[in-house]
Structure formats: C-alpha cells, structure tokens
C-alpha cells in the first residue's frame, strides 16, 4: 500500500469575498429596496403621530389646539410630507407584491395577477372614500 496523501476540502484555499457595507449603492434596484425598507420608519412615525393626536384630543381642547399649531410648524409639515411620500412608496410596492403572495382561484381558474393588484387598489380607494366621507360629513 502506497503512502496516503493528506487532502483538505478547501485545498489550498477558497476565496471568500465579503459583501461591501455599501452594497445597496451598487445597484438601483438594491437602492430602491433600501428605500422601501426605510419607509417602515415613516409608517412608524405616522403611528406615533396618530397616538399623539389621540392623546391631545383626550386632554381637551387646549391641548388639541397646541397640537394643531405644532403640526403646522414647517419642520413637522416637512416631516409629514416626506412621510407621505414614503407611505405611498410603501403602499405601491406592497400592492405590487401582493398578487405574488396571494394566489386566488375562482371557479378552479387562477385569477391573473393584474386583477389581484387592481383589487388592492380598489380596496384602497374604497377606504379613502370612507375616510373622506367621514371627514367632510362631520
């Protein structure tokens, strides 16, 4: 029996290339993805903002007026405007994804993706109409 050779699986060594910290700048689609991820922060901000509003209302008219004038300050306006843009981005990308996650069958046939997406937008429209109706009606 001859000599047995020693081998290692990684003989002699494999090249491992770590992902750069700035990977999300390398491609437009990666950047868009990071923007979408970032939009979560703004969703969270609207939740906080809403809670603040609720608290202000519950503490009486005075506090509500204070809240309104605070909200009218340029900084908060800007923050809210930017947030709105991100929320729209969030909604659009979410609706785009929805048909891929939900496969709906009607009468044994698969509903085309376009319909599922459209249904989501219809839902959004309906919800908006209700909100507007409440606001204007009140």
């Amino acid at each position: 029996m001859g000599q047995r050779h020693a081998y290692t699986e990684y003989h002699p060594r494999w090249l491992r290339r770590p992902v750069s910290t700035y990977w999300w700048l390398q491609k437009r689609s990666y950047f868009a993805f990071i923007l979408r991820e970032a939009s979560c922060i703004f969703v969270a901000w609207f939740v906080v903002y809403l809670l603040m509003l609720v608290r202000a209302v519950s503490e009486g008219e005075m506090s509500y007026r204070q809240f309104l004038s605070w909200s009218a300050s340029p900084l908060i306006l800007l923050v809210n405007l930017v947030s709105l843009l991100f929320i729209v981005l969030h909604a659009i990308t979410f609706f785009e994804a929805a048909p891929r996650a939900m496969v709906v069958h009607v009468g044994g046939r698969r509903v085309p993706n376009g319909f599922v997406g459209a249904a989501h937008y219809l839902g959004l429209l309906a919800a908006s109409v209700i909100v507007v109706w409440i606001l204007l009606g009140a």
Partner: protein
C-alpha cells in the same frame, strides 16, 4: 482513508440515479456511491426534450411497441431485451409519476401521450418539452431521500480497478481539492452516457466524451455495435442544438433550397398537409439524415458559414400553435440562433445525436467482467439495434438502470473483499495523473487534436461510409493518437484543473473513435444508421449479428460477432411511407392531440 462502498455508480444521469435508487430500495444496507464529474442534475439527460415511450393507450399494445422498435432498429435488436423493455417501460414511467415527475396530462388528469417519429401509435409520455429535464430532476430530488446513497459530486473517474479478474472500484480525481484516490467497491456500474463529442456537429453536451466506454474498453471489456451512430436530422448549425422531432410531428416541413419537400423523393411517402405517422417528416431519423446527404450531393442544400443546411419550415403552423405546442423550440431559436420560427425558416442539418453501441451487456446490465455493469447510453443491451427510435432512450435508462442496479446489488451482497493490489494500482494512477501528465512539457494543443479527430470522424465515419474512407480514418486516428502522447498541459494547478480533464477526455474519445471506425470497417453491409456506399444492401447472411470489439494493446483491435437474439419477429424489409403495412391514413392532426395537455 480510501473511501469504500458496496456499489459505485460512475455517472449521475438518468441511468445512474435510477440505478442508485433501485439499489437503495433492494437493500438499504448496501452503501451506494454516485460518482459524477458534474453535479448529477447537470448530466446530459437534462437536455432531452421530446419524451419517453411506454404503452398506455387502450388501442396500443406491447407487441406493437416491440415491433416498431425492432423494425426501426433494422432487426439488430435483441428481441428478448426489447420484450422486457416494452413491458417494463410503462411501469417505470408510472413509478416516476409517483415520484413527482410533472408529466403532461389530459383534461381529466390522466397521463397524456403524443406521437413520435418511428412510432406507429401515440405512446410517448412527455413533460411539456422538457421531458429529460423533469425526469432527471425528479430522479435526483427523489434520490436525496435515501440515506444509503452517498454522492461524489465533481469527481472525475480515470480508471477502473481490476484484480483477480473482477472489478473492485475506480480511481477518481476530486476536482475541487485535486485529491486523487481509489473508491473501492464490490460492484461498479458505468452510467456515463454517450460519446457524441467524438464528432464535430452534435447535440451532445461538452461532457459526453465516451468516458465509460473507454474505461471498460481499456479494462478488456468488449464494446458492442460501435459502428451505429445516430444522426438527428434537425440540429441548429454551429451550436448543434436540437430542434425536437415534436416540431415535425406538430406539422413542420423540411424543405430544400427550392422550398421543395424533398423527402418525397426518397421513398418516404407522399407529402400531405397534415403529418402522417412514419411517413415524410415523421420517417425514421436515419432515413431523414441520409436524404440530407443526397440533397447535398445534388447541390440542393443552402450554404451558410457553418456549412450546408436545409430549412425546417414551421411558419404555416402560426404563432398560436407554436407557442402552445412547442414553445421550447421557439425559445431555443430566439435565444441561440436569433431567429423566430413564426416568421423565419430554421436552418438545420443532421447532427450526431445518439450512440446505439456501447459497453456489451446482457439483459441485466452485466458485462463480461465480473462486478462490472453498465446502463444507459454507455451500454449496449441491445434494444436499439442499428437505429434507436426517438423516445426509446429515456425509458431505457429507467428499465435497464433498474435492472443493472438490482443485479449489481445482488452481486455486491456476496461480500467479496477488495484486494490490496488494487490500492497499489491506484497509487500508480495517481503518479500518472500528477506526475507524467502535469509535468510533461508537450507541444500539441488539446483543441487542435480534438478538432482533427472530429473532422476525421465526420469524413471517414459520417452518415455515409466506405471501406476506403474508414481505412483512411483508422490511419489518421492512429496518427492523432501518437501525437496525443506529446500533449501540452499548461495548467499545473491541482485545483479544478479543467485542462487535465480535457486531456483525459480527449484520450477517452480517441479510444472510442478508434472503436467506431474499426467496427464500421468490419461491417460490410448497410443497416440502419450504418450506411456503406460500397455495400449498400443489408446482408443478413453475414451480419445479422452484433459486433464486439476488443482492445488490443499491441496491435489492431479484434472484432468478433455475436448472433442477434430472435424471439418472434423474423427479419423483414424496413418500409416506410405508402408501402408500409397498415399505415392507412393515420393523420396526426392537431385535433388528434388531447387539448389541455399543458405546454
């Protein structure tokens, strides 16, 4: 430690994986190793498109499938093997259905079948136009559930270990690490596929170099019927990409430079607007390829930078039908040839497609060397005779993969021990692969020798051969063989050295090429895919028998003959077109195909 198993499979294509599963299911205590030079799901079975034949229709019968196979093979098939094959094929295809193969279906959920060239009845199972792909992935994924099946992915087998008159394993290179070691075994099954790369124009992938045939040949095992090389009549020039027969069975026309359906000139029936079984474009492959050569002689082909072609015309089928029935064909043309069959003619030419010959085995996959088995395209059982029928090969992988697996499992259970001498052999082999091969400063480029071999094969053993062309071929191959001992390998690395494997593959191919040309020289008749211009007739008196070629280290190879096994079908004339019996008007009209068969 030298790895050791009960059964080693060389090759992880359809045949290898089916055999592995068969062994695991026969006896889960046996340890099985699948050794493959590429990841199993990369094996060439993946590119088969058309389908797999197996009788399931009530209007069909095993005898008809057997008869089509035998007459298609020009009576060189072993009829006992064919009978076993047609009987077991539907079972095997069904088993694959149970394992998850996405066969195309009828609307009511039953398996759908389609017509196929050379088959008189509709009996070809298909998974859209990716049948081989789906079969291979189903087999591979199913094989993952058997704990007793080990895999050596990207290990390249370079030789068989033989001592005391029996096979005891293989030597292989682990490409990633460069490790060269014996993998010892009680039984070895060769499942390495075909050898199309011996020729210049071929549908076969880069990995089809006849490795297994050469491994067996070098170990003293005879190769059978090596002169029978099937051409596919419709490959794309340059890439050799195959335009499946389905394109013709859906109604495509073959036309020459005058737009004339030239097949009517070669006793293949009269042109009809609708395709008719076994006539014209649905005639057997060898006849179609031969007709191309005749057209070439008459100067009625079209010249292109990649040589002469004829045109496959699908335009009259319309976009809807093309996209519904043969979308893969359209995709291939768009992606690789930059043309659209809906609007353009497809340039096609005959390309080497399949090897009928191979390692001589019996009906159970056993070779003449104890412990060595073979299955799949590398083997010659023979059910394909002088010409394989389209869609018979995929079921062959399953039927004979299973048989070889079971038989090898039984043999391995005898528990014969590995002798120490084979480890010394493996050390010799390592020295050759690491020392001689890498340290040799040669002058010949691998690619040059390969090109020359391929050219030689095309010129001497192409669609038409003659004694003179073959004798010249033998001579030229000998010259190339000599030059190959002075091959240049620049790559000194042990890590994934693909230049060394290319050199090894070249040497396998040269051995196989020699076997093909020599066998062809000895068969002085024309039969099936073997057409001799100097002996244009079939000669049942002298050659109703298989050729067996033995390698001879010092001197020319030895060719012997083995009679064909006949059971119920005495040799008859092969007839196609109008003259064919009970042909009638079996139109393969589009409407005859079940709707909703999937695409």
């Amino acid at each position: 430690m030298t790895p050791s198993h009960d059964v080693v499979l060389v090759g992880g294509g359809g045949a290898g994986l089916r055999a592995a599963i068969a062994i695991a299911e026969t006896n889960s205590k046996l340890s099985v190793a699948v050794v493959s030079k590429v990841y199993p799901m990369r094996s060439h079975t993946v590119s088969a498109e058309g389908g797999a034949a197996g009788v399931i229709s009530p209007d069909d019968s095993l005898d008809e499938h057997a008869y089509d196979t035998i007459s298609g093979g020009d009576w060189l098939c072993d009829q006992d093997a064919v009978e076993a094959f047609v009987k077991e094929a539907p079972q095997e295809l069904l088993r694959l259905e149970h394992w998850g193969c996405p066969w195309s279906r009828e609307t009511d959920g039953r398996i759908a079948v389609r017509p196929f060239g050379g088959m008189k009845k509709m009996r070809t199972w298909f998974a859209a136009d990716k049948t081989g792909f789906h079969m291979l992935h189903t087999l591979f994924q199913t094989s993952l559930k058997y704990a007793s099946v080990a895999r050596y992915d990207e290990w390249f087998v370079t030789r068989l270990l033989v001592d005391e008159g029996r096979v005891q394993g293989v030597v292989a290179i682990d490409l990633k690490s460069g490790r060269i070691d014996a993998i010892t075994a009680r039984a070895v099954i060769l499942c390495t596929g075909g050898c199309g790369r011996v020729f210049p124009f071929t549908t076969n992938a880069a990995i089809k170099n006849g490795d297994g045939m050469a491994l067996a040949y070098r170990a003293g095992v005879p190769l059978k019927d090596m002169e029978f090389v099937q051409y596919h009549p419709t490959g794309l020039p340059f890439t050799g990409i195959l335009i499946t027969e389905a394109a013709r069975s859906e109604g495509g026309y073959l036309v020459n430079k005058d737009g004339y359906r030239y097949l009517q000139d070669y006793a293949l029936g009269k042109p009809q607007p609708q395709p008719v079984f076994r006539t014209m474009e649905l005639g057997p492959r060898d006849r179609l390829s031969q007709a191309f050569m005749k057209e070439l002689e008459k100067g009625r082909t079209i010249d292109t930078p990649y040589g002469p072609v004829v045109h496959l015309d699908l335009r009259h089928l319309g976009q809807k039908k093309i996209s519904a029935k043969i979308p893969f064909v359209r995709e291939l043309c768009l992606k690789y040839q930059n043309l659209d069959p809906v609007k353009d003619l497809i340039p096609v030419r005959p390309v080497v497609h399949y090897m009928m010959g191979g390692v001589h085995t019996d009906i159970n996959g056993a070779t003449l060397l104890p412990g060595l088995y073979a299955a799949g395209e590398v083997a010659c059982v023979s059910i394909n005779g002088a010409n394989r029928l389209g869609s018979n090969s995929l079921p062959e992988l399953l039927v004979f993969g299973t048989r070889a697996g079971r038989t090898a499992a039984e043999y391995a259970s005898l528990g014969l021990e590995v002798t120490s001498r084979v480890l010394a052999q493996s050390d010799d082999e390592r020295r050759r692969l690491e020392g001689e091969l890498l340290n040799h400063k040669g002058r010949e480029r691998i690619a040059d020798l390969r090109d020359e071999m391929q050219k030689t094969m095309e010129e001497s053993a192409g669609i038409y051969r003659s004694g003179a062309s073959l004798a010249r071929g033998v001579e030229r191959l000998r010259g190339i063989q000599e030059r190959s001992s002075d091959i240049a390998i620049e790559d000194q690395s042990k890590t994934f050295n693909t230049e060394r494997t290319a050199a090894l593959e070249l040497s396998f191919m040269l051995d196989v090429a020699e076997a093909i040309v020599t066998s062809a020289l000895h068969r002085e008749e024309s039969r099936g895919a073997h057409q001799r211009t100097d002996f244009p007739k079939r000669d049942d008196q002298r050659f109703l028998s298989h050729s067996l070629i033995y390698r001879n280290l010092d001197g020319p190879s030895r060719v012997e003959y083995l009679p064909v096994t006949m059971t119920r079908w005495p040799p008859a004339e092969r007839v196609y077109g109008e003259a064919a019996p009970n042909e009638g008007q079996h139109h393969v009209a589009g409407s005859a195909l079940p709707s909703g068969t999937g695409v």
